[in-house]
């Protein structure tokens, strides 16, 4: 598969920051394959949100380059094309809605792109149906729950028909129910509609269904691979201040106590099966 986003040796520091301090992004390189579900993990200050803002040209690298579908994010003429290719959903659902009616908000991006009115209508309806918010199309956004608002924000991005969606900690301000709604929605978009999803989060449990996980710390990618491979490095993750999923933590403790269970069980069912098998021996 071809990569849709290529981050090549990118370094970045915010303006006015101390030049002697380590940059927020320090020679980061990664590739995101088209159609895949990628999770970028890291605790606060690891540079993961800064990296996210590089993926659609909100920030441009000081050194290195970011290529979106072959287009350099430094190229101002390509900026609109880059942003319609890579949509972005932010942490606070309230601060990314422009309109006082759900469907008007979803229509915002296609309106900006100069799409003909009939097609906007069709795109808006389709996007709202995809995130399961069609019945709420004429509601006011401030009367929705956090999870619903975030789904509307996702619909607002889908209406641009992007090939990739980057979600920057979309669940940080949501309750567990809202968090599940959002993760289920983006997982479905990736698996059923073939949209590349890049999810940035510090919740390990959200990385379970991913194709690939990148772990960031202090501006570096410190680990990458499948969720199973990444989470089995329990000690390394803990050293970075990240907690592993509960199932992995349990398996790791059991192994420490001498029980031979597989470490990479990511769902409670797998974990239970592994423990049952180990106990039968």
């Amino acid at each position: 598969m071809e990569p849709i986003i290529q981050v090549k040796d990118v370094s970045f520091r915010y303006e006015g920051e101390d030049e002697s301090a380590a940059p927020v992004l320090d020679h980061v390189s990664l590739e995101i394959e088209a159609g895949s579900f990628v999770v970028i993990l890291g605790h606060n200050g690891s540079g993961k949100s800064t990296l996210a803002k590089h993926l659609n040209g909100i920030l441009v690298p000081d050194e290195g380059e970011v290529l979106v579908d072959g287009m350099d994010t430094k190229d101002d003429d390509k900026l609109l094309d880059i942003r319609r290719t890579v949509g972005m959903v932010f942490q606070n659902p309230d601060n990314q809605m422009v309109a006082s009616v759900v469907e008007d908000d979803v229509a915002f991006a296609p309106e900006n792109l100069g799409v003909p009115p009939d097609e906007i209508r069709a795109r808006v309806d389709e996007a709202l149906k995809l995130v399961g918010m069609y019945e709420f199309r004429d509601r006011a956004p401030h009367l929705l729950s956090g999870g619903q608002k975030q789904r509307v924000a996702i619909a607002g991005v889908i209406a641009m028909q992007p090939r990739c969606i980057v979600l920057d900690e979309p669940t940080a301000m949501l309750d567990p129910g809202g968090r599940r709604e959002v993760i289920e929605t983006v997982t479905r978009l990736c698996r059923e509609n073939g949209i590349t999803v890049v999810l940035i989060t510090h919740h390990m449990s959200e990385a379970v269904g991913a194709d690939k996980v990148f772990v960031m710390s202090a501006g570096h990618v410190i680990s990458e691979g499948t969720p199973e491979a990444v989470f089995s490095k329990v000690e390394a993750l803990r050293k970075e201040g990240l907690t592993v999923p509960d199932t992995v933590a349990l398996s790791w403790e059991l192994r420490g106590a001498g029980l031979d269970v597989p470490l990479a069980a990511l769902t409670p069912a797998d974990c239970a099966a592994g423990i049952a098998k180990a106990l039968q021996k």
């Binding site: 803002k53 659609n56 909100i58 609109l80 942003r83 319609r84 949509g87 972005m88 932010f90 606070n92 309230d94 601060n95 990314q96 809605m97 422009v98 309109a99 006082s100 009616v101 469907e103 008007d104 229509a107 915002f108 991006a109 296609p110 309106e111 900006n112 792109l113 100069g114 799409v115 003909p116 009115p117 906007i120 209508r121 808006v124 004429d138 006011a140 956004p141 401030h142 607002g156 991005v157 641009m160």
Partner: protein, 268 residues
Amino acid sequence: MLKDVTLGQYFPGTSFIHRLDPRTKLIATFVYIAALFVAKWYVSYAVVLALLIVCITVSGIKPSAFFRGLKPILFIIIFTAVINLFATKGGTVLWNWWKLTITSAGAQLAFLMVARIMLLITGTFLLTYTTTPMALTDGLELLLEPIKKLGAPVHEFSMMMSIALRFIPTLIEEADKIASAQKARGADFETGSLTERAKALLPLLVPLFVSAFRRADELAVAMEARCYHGGEGRTRMKKLTMCPADWATLIGSGVFLAGIIVLARYGL
């Protein structure tokens, strides 16, 4: 405490008035206001009132909503009444005490001024109650299209307005939250003199402003991420179209204004 602001409140519905083009409603409202200022005497006022009652009935919105909307301006109404009542000289003296005199002319003028203010406010409520803020700003932007050619930032203005309207409930909610947090730590917003209460609001306004700026910053980034690049080359999902009903309404309001002007000429 901030929850009962009815500014820009919209009552969903499908009445004839709801379905009119916002441009029609804006123009009709301006015509209505003009008529109200042309109106001279009881007959004209009665005609305006009759029209308003018909429109409110057609809109299907409960009259109580309009009375509720009048409450915040009660002070202005009373103030106007009192000033006109005592400051107007002429006609027969109805009541006299020390330096205060009420004349028949004063009483009549006070009554008509109060009627004018109430009709004015209620009429504009009809516009905001039956039109979504978004449609209103869209209509305004299209109406102001001619001055866009002169270089006036019409699109920016209407964008600003719709964003302001969108964030009113969000900021009210936030103000309530901050007020609760301050109250929990002993702040007192309800008692004391006016200056004391104004001072007590300061610790509420500072965090509110800080957060509003932070929101503005995030919103700007989110809008750019959704390809916003000003009004150029922008299309709209909801295209505004003038139907025969709109033209009929416009002609109707023209006739109405002409009628009021004629009545005013005869001093009615």
